[in-house]
Symmetry: C2
Subunit: 228 residues, 2 copies
């Protein structure tokens, strides 16, 4: 154990984690928002999050907040970036380490211990958000859009078994643009390790049986799918 | 101004910025290291960095540290990620917001105010580093390698005017793999907005005159260059 820091060595910060939890509901890309139950911004909508505890890592704090807010734990969760403008919280220096979670359609959220209400909001119409959360949300959405180009994370929005048409619909909704069905089918089935046939088919749309897939072992798309 | 936090609301953190400054020297990808002048890890090599001041943003703190350590300010600088394991500093909770800087060959660094010595170290042989800096360095190198696939940032390692062969050499050094010269030439000259001919040529290698380029306006490579 070395000497401890003197208080004069550094300004004390609070460190929080904030979550951009994205899912697809009613054919729209949506983010989880909570209504703040206390000041500042009391009554305003914000991203879910909270203080990092003294004994937990940043990743652990993000996973804990995610479980508290959504009840789920087995979804994709990655660090998005840190936000530390000196004026982002009116009370003191707060650095927020933001995380991005991508989840299949989740139940309507319930308000947590420090939130008065919770809802899924389309990402293109979130209303006014507290703090710098509009920027964090926008950065999370752009990260998700970019990741669909070169990673298999589009499948994170799908059920465990899904059709190519369902995966294409994910891409269309996240990117906000229609995609040519045959082109998309050719591209995604040409990416090594992206899709594994389950052997089953579906007829849920009343049409021809469609092959069911699950996510394969690929960690990157070669070649990538590129937004126009 | 809302109510201030009570000390019991949150544990106080110190927040630092640490820099992965990469350059190419002697045909190797190198990172800037400083020898620590004080405890903990006194005398050990570490990434340059320091405490975020009470009145500055994270980006401003990173730019300040970069200028202090290297004397340069006009290089690519981006946030890499935050590191907050509860045991990463033996004295107290410290969250480090790491930044990645990519720079053309810089002069041999001089020791700063809180560093006893400074040097460029090949990234594949940095020795034992203080704190979790080996992990931060590895993450920075991987980010740089990935960015060369889909962004024009390879040019950040070049002089303002450069040849395709010089850019290829950057890719070969950063990726650690030889590349086919004709293939590379065809690919990079086929990416819209990546390279702008300056009109000049060079004969510096004694061979045929080679066309000189500067970086164009592209912010992403379409199509990307993909590591094998």
């Amino acid at each position: 154990m070395g000497p401890v820091y003197q208080p004069s060595d550094f300004p004390p910060f609070a460190v929080t984690v904030d979550l951009v939890v994205l899912t697809i509901r009613d054919d729209r890309l949506c983010a989880l928002l909570v209504r703040r139950g206390s000041a500042p911004y009391k009554g305003k909508w914000a991203l879910p999050g909270g203080f990092v505890h003294v004994d937990e890592s940043l990743d652990a704090a993000a996973a804990r907040e995610l479980a508290e807010e959504t009840g789920v734990s087995r979804v994709h969760l990655e660090q998005l970036g840190s936000y530390g403008d000196p004026r982002r919280d009116p009370r003191m220096r707060v650095v927020s380490v933001a995380y991005l979670a991508l989840a299949p359609d989740l139940p309507t959220p319930v308000a947590g211990t420090d939130a008065a209400d919770a809802r899924w909001s389309p990402v293109d119409d979130p209303g006014r958000l507290a703090f710098d959360h509009a920027q964090i949300l926008a950065d999370g959405v752009e990260r998700a859009r970019a990741k669909l180009e070169y990673s298999p994370l589009g499948t994170a929005f799908c059920s465990e078994e899904f059709t190519v048409a369902e995966l294409r619909r994910v891409y269309e909704i996240v990117w906000g643009t229609p995609l040519d069905a045959r082109n998309f089918h050719r591209k995604v089935t040409g990416v090594t390790g992206l899709l594994e046939p389950t052997g089953g088919t579906t007829t849920r749309d009343g049409g021809r049986p469609a092959q069911l897939y699950r996510r394969g072992p690929a960690v990157a798309l070669h070649p990538p799918l590129v937004r126009s």
